[in-house]
Amino acid sequence: MNIAGIGIVFNRGRGLPALEKALEEGWVPPTASRYSVSDDFIKDRVILKEMRRADTFSKMACLAAHDAVADSGLSVAGKSSLGIILASALGPYVTTFRFLDDILQYGDAKVSPTVFSHSVHNAAVSYIALCLQSRGPTLTITQFSQSFYQALLLAEAWMLEDRCTHVLVGSAEQCDDILEYVCRQKIHLAEDGKIEPFLFSESPKAVPGEGSVFFLLDKQETSGKYGKISIHGDNGVQGLDMYLLECSGLTGDEAVYRNDAKAGPLISSYTPLFGSMMSGIGFSCAAAALMLKNQRYYAAPVQSNPHNAPLCGGHQSAPLNTIRCISYGCHNEKMEFTLKHAHG
């Protein structure tokens, strides 16, 4: 699948310039105990003009989706065959808890219909379709750590069967005090705000994050500016320049990544920039696509490396053809996303 456009909203800002800046600058500690998206990053009176009552989850997703389409230059005519798939591990759960708050505060009969309608998982995609005036297939899926992988799988299937010519695929996650509380009960959180991916720890530490990333995909034979993404095929390391490992502390034992770190290619991980998200592999794929476009290696933002893995230690502009993003799910199921440069 050809990547024609990318849109992103995360704790460091909105858009690819913000991602590029974050990759250049490296790790910065969160301002609180988790990485949050500032309200300033999701203010856009033009794009969000129909979304005054929308929640943060929908706004993040809508802006990322809009920006991916704008980045691709897809015409209005092209939108008639545009599919939209949103993957989210937890959906707009913050709004769900707002609705529960209403029930406890006011009783079953006096709750807000607006809050309820935004607590439904597919509210965000509804807004995206409205914003883009896209009348094609729309779907929201949830599969915890496999969410983004399953979304890409379906996007590929939709294009293979000509259900649509373009598919807008993305993920969105939100974090608030309740999720942070749950994380504290279930996993280890890094009190210094630093995810250390290359410890490959059996009890890794996470820093919850939030944001949304979208890719506009098509099946053009010729690659666009970001190249192609595949979730199948030869999984060998020949011709591979780099592994991006999705070690973020969320899914438990990360010792499983040690074998990948020893496989040969240079390795890196940008989870310390984004924070820990169950569908966070989409953000790593965006980083990989940008590296391929820029033909630039960005240093791993956190470099603690007790296992002497072949880390990407510094920024460097050099030929870069193939990057593979690797993520393990809650049951150690391996997911691989191979991105190839347009001329690779």
Binding site: I84, L90, G91, Y93, T96, F97, F99, L100, D101, I103, L104, G107, D108, A109, V111, S112, P113, F116, S117, H118, S119, V120, H121, N122, A123, V125, S126, Y127, A129, L130, L132, Q133, S134, R135, G136, P137, T138, L139, T140, I141, T142, Q143, F144, Q146, Q150, L153, L154, E156, A157, W158, L160, E161, R163, I178, Y181, V182, Q185, K186
Partner: protein, 384 residues
């Protein structure tokens, strides 16, 4: 894609046999909720006598397992499921949300809450949990497209099979009754305080229900290798967005019409070949008006159609799965039940569902789903 098995559990019965009995006699069993306390006056459709476990797993999962077991038995795959690449794609709404009032009350009051609700939720991703239950290794995907989730999950299964991502798919939907959506739908003013009347002039809203509807679909060559004959298949699927409003359908119904047209084009049929339609028919003013208009426009005013929500209530993420099974049953049995609850034609719609148990002739039938967020889905079922 061939349908080799089906299973249902809903307020209309714990299996296909009971469901057909209740369809045949026009029996429905809505009443006040017993699964949770609420001061709302709305009747619901609970699954009668369903033996749930100790609460360590979601009721939605248990409903899905019951329907899946029936479907797997019918498909003849009980002992050979693991020999195939089997995907799981299921729609739901409740199982995708941690809408546990007790958990949140504890957190709100004390700043801490027991984790068993969280564990149940984290272990309850519907497709993932069913995949683990049956030890399957194909793709697994939980569709959360609100009220069209079940139909769209079947659509995803079709796409997987066409793309050769697996050989067999367990697909459909499941949802349990829950206080939170009852409050939510109530707040929208679209829940009736009496038993629902889909497409009736005096309809006053929907009733919520619970259940699961599961289909086993597979590639034809896989079915033949198993020594079984093709009887029914899904020959078309369409989905289209309204791009109009978060909760209201587009008044001109063009999104539903696009979904129907796409599904029939895939099936290679014309509207005149459709024997009957199992409509979404929630009994809300807006849904039934828009849907009725579209059915009349696409299929003509004499088309035979019904809503089965008068028997099951609106089962949200399960609805598309249940109604796909009901549609297959209509083709198999050669009759469809009366569209229960319907009495008086609405002049504003100008089309009426079947008033009595009706013999049907033909090899094709359609099931439609409309969802919050403006998603419209349709599947075409074909009888060989």
């Amino acid at each position: 894609m061939v349908i080799s098995g089906m299973g249902v559990v809903s307020g209309c019965g714990n299996n296909v046999h009971e469901t057909l009995d209740n369809f045949s006699t026009g029996c429905r069993k809505g009443g006040p909720p017993s699964l949770f306390k609420t001061d709302l006056p709305y009747p619901v459709f609970e699954v009668p006598g369903f033996q749930a476990g100790d609460g360590t797993v979601m009721r939605t999962f248990e409903l899905a397992v019951a329907a899946a077991n029936e479907a797997i038995r019918e498909s003849g795959l009980e002992n050979t499921l693991l020999a195939h690449r089997v995907g799981v794609c299921l729609g739901t709404t409740v199982a995708s949300q941690l809408n546990d009032v007790d958990f949140y009350r504890a957190y709100r009051n004390t700043g801490s809450a027991p984790m068993h609700s969280v564990d149940r939720y984290l272990n309850g991703n519907l497709a993932g949990a069913i995949q683990q239950k049956f030890h399957l290794s194909g793709p697994a995907c939980t569709v959360v497209n609100a009220c069209s989730s079940g139909t769209d999950a079947i659509g995803v299964g079709i796409s997987w099979l066409r793309a050769d991502m697996c050989d067999i798919v367990i697909c459909g939907g499941a949802d349990e009754l829950n206080r939170v959506p009852l409050c939510g739908f109530g707040s929208l003013g679209i829940v009736s305080d009496s038993l629902c009347k889909p497409f009736d002039k005096d309809r006053s809203g929907l009733n919520l229900g619970e259940g699961a509807g599961i289909l086993i679909i597979e590639k034809e060559n896989v079915l033949r290798k198993r020594g079984r004959e093709k009887e029914f298949c899904i020959s078309g699927y369409g989905l289209a967005a309204d791009a109009y409003h978060l909760t209201a359908p587009r008044p001109d119904g063009s999104g539903l019409e696009a979904a129907l047209t796409h599904a029939m084009n895939e099936a290679g049929i014309s509207p005149g070949q459709v024997a009957f339609i199992n409509a979404h028919g929630t009994a809300t003013r807006d849904n039934d008006k828009v849907e009725g208009d579209v059915l009349a426009r696409v299929f003509g005013s004499k088309v035979q159609f019904l809503s089965t929500k008068g028997y099951t209530g609106h089962t949200l993420g399960a609805a598309g799965g249940l109604e796909a099974v009901f549609t297959v049953l209509g083709l198999r049995e050669g009759w469809i039940p009366q569209s229960i609850g319907f009495e008086n034609e609405d002049d504003e719609i100008g089309i009426a569902p079947v008033r009595e148990k009706t013999i049907i002739n033909g090899n094709y039938a359609v099931s439609t789903s409309l969802a919050f967020g403006g998603n419209n889905s349709a599947i075409v079922i074909e009888k060989e």
